[in-house]
């Protein structure tokens, strides 16, 4: 072609782009066929929940044990921030009287007074954080996990105002330089997004229990499907007295405390 006017150039260019599109589409299809389904090892459930046996938890390290917290925070690239105003926490402890505010009384049994209780996202049945999110960055999965898309979150912090459990943290600064050690297998977060416990959705996918459950030497944390009558969580709930945080608010928390 000795001369190409503007129109034919555009036409030719357009065809090229179209061709590239079709080509890559075909590639994707081909790949899909190739990689088709070896049986998935994933753990599946209808309503994931956790029961924490606080007695076992205290026996472990006389209240000093931080195994589950460290394991979780290291694996999920949770930064170490000393300033309590900007702390990022997925699982941590608070004293009994603050976790169960409505149960606060002068004459609490000595064995419970001031004892540390593990707190984390409750993965509520009816999560207000997901209800208020303006972008669906926080959403409720079919298996009950309240999940976050860190790439969609705009950092409006409406979910933090809505969560009655203080389970959500905001990245007030870039968290990456504050990581004690980077875990390359889990994404880090950017400055300006909210984050929280995800019930180790990435581990369930691979057939493993949540890391906090695995890390506890006493087996104080038990994870399972509430809809499965034979699950370990249901067995404990049948036989032990358990409490949930602020059930009167109607959010339906799925973390139970056996005392």
């Amino acid at each position: 072609m000795s001369k190409m006017d503007r129109r034919s150039f555009l036409r030719f260019g357009g065809l090229c782009v179209l061709g590239l599109g079709v080509l890559s589409g075909a590639e994707v299809l081909a790949e899909k066929q190739l990689k088709a389904a070896p049986a998935s090892p994933a753990l599946v459930g209808k309503k994931w929940a956790m029961v924490i046996d606080m007695k076992k938890c205290w026996e472990a390290g006389k209240g000093e044990c931080r195994d589950c917290i460290l394991a979780c925070h290291r694996a999920h690239n949770v930064p170490d921030i000393a300033n309590p105003k900007e702390e990022v926490k997925w699982i941590w402890t608070e004293p009994y009287e603050e976790v169960f505010l409505d149960q606060k009384q002068e004459y609490t049994a000595e064995g419970i007074q001031g004892k540390p209780f593990l707190v984390l996202c409750n993965h509520c049945d009816n999560p207000p954080c997901a209800r208020v999110c303006p972008t669906k960055a926080t959403f409720k999965r079919e298996d009950g996990i309240v999940m976050m898309d860190y790439h969609r979150c705009i950092g409006c912090r409406f979910c933090m105002a809505a969560c009655p459990f203080g389970a959500r943290s905001f990245n007030f600064r870039d968290p990456r330089p504050l990581l004690p050690k980077l875990n390359p297998d889990f994404p880090t977060r950017e400055m300006g997004v909210v984050e929280k416990c995800n019930f180790c959705a990435e581990r369930l996918e691979a057939g493993a229990l949540p890391l906090c459950v695995e890390a506890c030497r006493q087996g104080a944390l038990v994870f399972g499907d509430l809809e499965d009558g034979n699950s370990e969580v249901r067995t404990i709930l049948r036989s032990r007295f358990t409490m949930r945080r602020r059930p009167e608010l109607g959010t339906g928390p799925n973390v139970y405390y056996a005392i």
Binding site: P84, K85, E86, E87, E94, E97, E98, V99, L101, K104, P128, R131, V132, C133, P134, T135, K136, A137, R152, C153, I154, G155, C156, R157, F158, M160, A161, A162, C163, P164, F165, G166, R168, S169, F170, N171, F172, R173, D174, E190, M191, G192, V193, V194, R246, L249, G250, T251
Partner: protein, 384 residues
């Protein structure tokens, strides 16, 4: 018409330059915030909304208050307001723009703002708020500009403007109702969880918006040949008086329910604001300033002599605006987070960069308002 904004005296231009200077300082600090994150503000994981969202909430009220001149004029034929509806509408325009700017500076990821529209989420009140605010902005720009243009040409405005005006009246109520729903629908935030919230918001909006409008009109009167007329000012003063009485009545209702029922969750935030909680009480002086200014304003407004005299009316309007700013533009939002989910008090005060960014946005609003008012006043001077 916009060319009229380019023809002003020395005083006009120096005012604009001052505002531009404030805007650039605010913008400079916003760049710092973009770079370092919201760590440069006083907000925390416990008090996760602060000055920005409080300003947003307060200014939605100022914007909604335009309805207090539009409604009497268009629905009740209050002729005195014929000359000033445009000032109410332009005040709404600049306020809504400030609201949207305050939402943007509050975002951790402002570059993802459009996610709100790309993934529309009808169950989120914030989504609806952005929708109603944008609609309200558009309505007021279109209505205000067309009515003013018609006035300049000494013809009546196009027929299609009237229905828009009627739509804008309930729309004004909707913007503040939706904004109240952001707060009043959250479990576990006892201070906000009250059905009175939207009503309270509207009442305080209809007091502080018209109070600001009176002050602005009196400034216009001294700076230009346009006289809004004594009757219009006095009618507005009556509206401010009623709205202020209702507004304080509503605050009193909250106090009664909290302290007569003695339910701790309902008492804590109010106790924190006015008396301190667990030894924390950084907002106490501000809240007592609110109380004294509000009562002082009420005395000046209820007394016909002081309400009718311009010099005392100005003081009253200033006090109404300042007191309601303290109550809604500071205390209401912060106290909702106190105490936190664990019953602990984590205090909040804005930092200097945060205040300068907020001032930058107020200056942006003032600049837009100045330009719009300049156009409106010039048209009115030309026609007169």
């Amino acid at each position: 018409m916009l060319e009229k904004a380019l023809m002003g005296g020395k005083r006009y231009w120096s005012w604009l330059i001052l505002l531009l200077a404030m805007m650039s300082v605010g913008f400079r600090f916003y760049l710092l915030q973009l770079n370092q994150g919201l760590t440069i503000t006083g907000m925390s994981r416990d008090v996760s909304w602060g000055l920005y969202i409080a300003q947003f909430t307060f200014l939605v009220g100022v914007a909604a208050s335009a309805v207090m001149v539009v409604l009497p004029y268009y629905l009740h034929n209050v002729k005195a307001f014929g000359q000033i509806t445009i000032f109410g509408e332009f005040l709404a325009v600049s306020s809504v723009i400030m609201c949207l700017l305050f939402v943007i500076v509050d975002l951790g990821k402002p570059m993802r703002l459009l996610n709100m529209l790309l993934y529309p989420t009808p169950n989120s009140i914030l989504f609806w708020d952005v929708i109603v605010l944008s609609g309200y902005l558009l309505l007021n720009i279109v209505i205000g500009w067309n009515v003013l243009e018609a006035e300049r040409k000494a013809v009546s405005p196009p027929d299609w403007v009237k229905p828009l005006v009627y739509v804008s009246i309930p729309w004004a109520v909707s913007i503040h109702t939706v904004t109240a729903f952001i707060y009043s629908g959250l479990p576990g935030r006892d201070y906000w969880l009250t059905a009175l919230m939207a009503a309270r918001f509207l009442a305080s909006a209809f007091a502080c918006g018209p109070a600001l409008l009176i002050l602005l009109l009196l400034i216009i009167k001294t700076l230009s040949k346009f006289d809004p007329g004594r009757e219009a000012i006095q009618k507005l003063a009556q509206i401010v008086t009623y709205a202020m009485v209702i507004s304080l009545f509503f605050v009193g209702l909250e106090f009664f329910t909290a302290f007569y029922s003695q339910v701790p969750g309902h008492m804590h935030s109010l106790a924190y604001l006015f008396a301190g909680l667990d030894g924390h009480g950084k907002l106490i002086p501000f809240m007592w300033a609110f109380a004294f200014l509000a009562i002082g304003a009420l005395i000046l407004l209820l007394n016909p002599r002081t309400r009718q005299q311009e010099s005392t009316l100005k003081v009253a309007c200033g006090a109404v605006f300042a007191s309601l700013w303290l109550e809604k533009g500071l205390g209401l939002v912060v106290a909702g987070f106190i105490p936190n989910a664990f019953g602990e008090v984590a205090e909040y005060l804005p930092t200097a960069p945060e205040i300068l960014i907020a001032l930058g946005i107020w200056a942006t609003g003032a600049l837009i308002l100045t330009v719009l008012y300049k156009v409106a006043v010039s048209v009115k001077e030309e026609v007169a």
